[in-house]
Assembly symmetry: C2
Homo-oligomer: 422 residues x 2
C-alpha cells in the first residue's frame, strides 16, 4: 500500500535515529539510558525532533510517555498502536526497546509520506522506564500510561542510584505526575498493541531466522534484594561445625535451583530460567581472612508455565529450610516481585505470521521475556510481540541488531498495522 | 619471683592500656587499626607512652617496629623475647595482637618494678602490619624486623585502600625503610620468641579452658584476587546451553572445595579449612535481570598437614578444569600466596605447659592460624604460642577476651619468660 522507496526511506531514517541516540548515550561499556533520567531524556528529545521533522507532533501523558497519532479516516475508532521503550539497563545495548520505538515511528512517517490514510488511526509510542534495575520494578512507563496498578504507589518507588522517588524523577523532567482520572490510553481508544523488539536470547540466531513471533511472555519471580546472614569469623581457625558461612550457604541455594533447572532440561522442559545476577559479600567488612558473614544477592526465576514456577517456589522453600538448618545461616529474601506468565493474542500472532509468509519469510514462535506488551495484554488490549534476531543476547554491551533485520521487522510491522487498521 | 601484688598491678595497667587503645581505635562496627597506618599508629604512640611512664624506653627498627629491652645480669646473652602486633583487620576485634603486645610489656614492667633481674635480658615487641587484608600479605612487620624475605621487594607491595607502597607508608610514619645490613633481631641476639595471643577459633571456649598451647601453625594457600569470567546476558531469555554464568560457576567451585572438607571431616580430619571471604559480582555491571558475567573472589584454604594441602590443590585444579568445560567460563586465579605449615618448638611448648600445671591450670594443645611467631620459627628462632580463650572468634567485632583469662595468660607468660631467662 506504501511505495517501497518511501517505506525504505523511512526505515533508513529510523535506523539513523537509533544509531544517533546510541552515539549520544554511549557509556563504557555499552549504553546507559536511565529510566526517567538522563540518557532516556536524550533519546526522548531526539525522538520528538524526529517526529516533528517528519510532520508528526509529539504528545505526552502526565508521566513523560510520548505518543504520536496519525489520524485514520474514522478517527473515532480505537487506534492501532505500536512502540516500545527508550530506557536501557546500565551498560546495556542500544537496541532493546529503542529499535521498536523507532520502527513504530517509521511506519507512521512512511504512511504519512505516502499520503495513505487507513481506516483506523495509527499510534506510535515511546515509553519510559521499562527496565527493572533502576527502580527494582519493570514496565513503569506502560503501567503509568495504562494506569495498570496504583499510580500513587508507583510514584513512591525510589530509584536505586539517585534515591529519589519515581514521582520526583517525573517532576524533574517537567511532567506533573497526575494520578487522577482516566489514563491517556485505554481499551476504548486502543484497538491493539504490536511491539517490535530484539530477541533477548539467541534462539533466532541459532535457527538462522531474522524474525520470530512471541508465543507468550514468561512469568517470573524476583527477589531484588535478598540477603543471607551468617557470622563473620576467623577464616583459618573457625572449625567446620562452628561456621556460619554466608557465601557457602548462598552458593548452595544457587546451585540447588540450578539442579532443578538441569532436571527440568533433562526432561525436555528448556523453558525455565534461574539467575542470581547480583551476589556480593559486604565490601565494608569482607576479607580474605574472614569467614563471610553476609551476602547480598538477587534471585530471578521464570517460566511460561505456572506449574514450573510453582515447582521452583517449592524447591526454593525446601532449600532455604535445609540450608538454614545445616549451615546456621538466615535467609532474608526481602520483597518479592512476581509476574504471572502472560498469554498473547492468537489473532494478532496469526496476523504477524501471515505478513511474514506474504513477504516470503519463514516463521517461528518462541517464548519471550517481559515487555511493555505484557502490561497492554493484562490491561485487556490484544497484544503481540514481533522479535528480531540478536546473536549476543540483550542487557549487555554486545547486543546486536543487523540493519537488514531491522528493515524486515519494520516491513512486517507496517503491513500488520495497516491490516489491523483496515 | 615477682610479688603477686606487683605482677597483678602491671597486668591491670596493661589491661587498661588495651582498653584505652580500643576506645581510641573504635570503628563501626568493631575496631580498625590499619597496617602501617592510622589506628596502628594510635596504638604505637600509647604503647610507647605506657613504656616511658613505667621506665622502659621504646626503640624502633627502620620500619617502625617497637621494642623494649630490660637488661639481664648477662646482657650479652640472647634475649628472651615476647610480644605481638598492633594492627587489626578492618572492623576487627580489639584483642587480636594487641593483648599479646600488652602482656609482654606487663611482664617487663612487673619485673622491673619488683627489682628482679634475670640472667638473660627480656625483650617486649610491638610489631606492625601482621594482618593480611591491608597489603594482601601477612606478617609484614616481623618479616621486616627479621629480614625474612627480600625487604626491598616487600617495600613495593601496595596497600589496597591507599594505593601507596609499604615503603611509602613506613616513610610517612617517619621511619627510613633501610634495607641494608643486619636486621635488629637475629638468631644471635634472640634466645626464643613466646607469643601470647587470643585464640582465633572457639576450641578453648568449647572445652571451657582459659588457655592452651599451639601445637603447630596452619599452612595455607591464598588467592587474594581471583576472578571467574563468563558472559553477561539477558536473565530471562538466555537459554541454559548458551549461558556462561559466573556466579553459578564460582558457586560450584566453592561447594566443590566444601565437599572435600566435608569428606575430610567425615574421615576424622577436622584440620582443613576453606573460605571464600570475598565474593562479588561487578557493581558497575551486575543486575537482577542480567546473567552475571564476572565474579571477583578470594580463596583461602589451609591445614597443618602438607598432604592435605596438596590434596586440596589437586581438587582445585580438577574443579577448575571441569567447571570451565561444563559452564563455558574462565577462571583467573591471580597471584598465589602460600605459607607452609610451621612446626613450633617442642621444648618451649613443654615449658609453657609446665608453667600452666604449676599454676594448677589444665593444658590443651590445638593448631593455630598464622602468627608472627611463624616468621620467628622460620628464621631459626625457637618459638611458641600461648592461646587465650575467645568465644566468638577473631577478625570480627564480637571477638572477646575476659580480663581474668588475660591475667592468667600474663602470669603463665611471666613465669615462662623468667624460666627461659634463668
Amino acid at each position: 500500500m506504501i511505495p517501497k522507496n518511501i517505506l525504505d526511506g523511512a526505515i533508513s531514517d529510523a535506523w539513523a535515529l537509533v544509531l544517533g541516540i546510541g552515539r549520544r548515550t554511549t557509556d563504557t561499556p555499552g549504553h546507559t539510558r536511565a529510566s526517567f533520567g538522563e540518557g532516556e531524556q536524550v533519546a526522548a528529545d531526539l525522538v520528538c525532533q524526529f517526529g516533528a521533522s517528519n510532520g508528526l507532533d509529539a504528545e505526552h501523558d502526565a508521566f513523560g510517555n510520548i505518543y504520536f497519532l496519525l489520524p485514520g479516516t474514522e478517527p473515532e475508532l480505537p487506534a492501532v498502536t505500536s512502540g516500545s521503550h527508550l530506557d536501557s539497563v546500565p551498560n546495556g545495548g542500544n537496541y532493546d526497546g529503542l529499535a521498536g520505538t523507532a520502527a513504530a515511528l517509521a511506519v507512521l512517517v512512511a504512511t504519512r509520506k505516502a499520503g495513505f490514510q487507513p481506516r483506523r488511526s495509527l499510534r506510535a509510542l515511546a515509553m519510559r522506564g521499562e527496565e527493572s534495575p533502576w527502580f527494582n520494578m519493570a514496565y513503569l512507563g506502560s503501567r503509568l500510561l495504562l494506569a495498570y496498578g496504583d499510580r500513587t504507589e508507583l510514584g513512591q518507588r525510589r530509584r536505586v542510584d539517585s534515591g529519589l522517588t519515581l514521582r520526583e524523577h517525573v517532576e524533574q523532567l517537567g511532567f506533573p505526575f497526575l494520578t487522577d482520572g482516566e489514563p491517556v490510553l485505554t481499551r476504548e481508544n486502543t484497538a491493539c498493541f504490536l511491539e517490535l523488539h530484539i530477541e533477548q536470547g539467541p534462539l533466532l540466531e541459532e535457527k538462522n531466522l531474522p524474525l520470530g513471533v512471541a508465543s507468550a511472555i514468561r512469568g517470573n519471580v524476583r527477589y531484588p534484594s535478598a540477603r543471607c546472614l551468617g557470622e563473620y569469623g576467623h577464616a583459618s581457625t573457625t572449625p567446620r561445625h562452628s561456621r556460619r558461612d554466608a557465601v557457602m550457604a548462598a552458593a548452595e541455594l544457587a546451585l540447588g535451583l540450578d539442579h532443578l533447572w538441569a532436571d527440568l532440561a533433562a526432561e525436555g522442559d528448556d523453558n525455565f530460567v534461574v539467575t542470581l545476577g547480583r551476589f556480593s559479600t559486604d565490601m565494608a567488612q569482607h576479607a580474605l581472612t574472614k569467614v563471610p558473614g553476609e551476602v547480598n544477592f538477587s534471585l530471578n526465576f521464570g517460566s511460561t508455565s505456572e506449574v514450573t514456577i510453582r515447582q521452583a517456589r517449592e524447591r526454593l522453600a525446601e532449600l532455604i529450610e535445609r540450608i538454614t538448618a545445616e549451615r546456621g545461616v538466615r535467609f532474608e529474601m526481602g520483597p518479592e516481585v512476581a509476574a504471572e506468565p502472560v498469554a498473547l493474542d492468537a489473532r494478532l500472532i496469526g496476523l504477524l505470521e501471515a505478513q511474514m509468509r506474504e513477504l516470503g519469510l519463514p516463521t517461528m514462535r518462541l517464548p519471550t521475556a517481559g515487555h511493555d506488551a505484557g502490561i497492554f495484554a493484562l490491561s485487556g488490549i490484544p497484544s503481540a510481540v514481533l522479535l528480531m534476531r540478536n546473536p549476543f543476547g540483550s542487557h549487555n554491551p554486545r547486543e546486536h541488531l543487523d540493519e537488514a533485520d531491522f528493515a524486515l521487522g519494520c516491513s512486517v510491522l507496517a503491513r500488520a498495522m495497516h491490516a489491523a487498521a483496515a
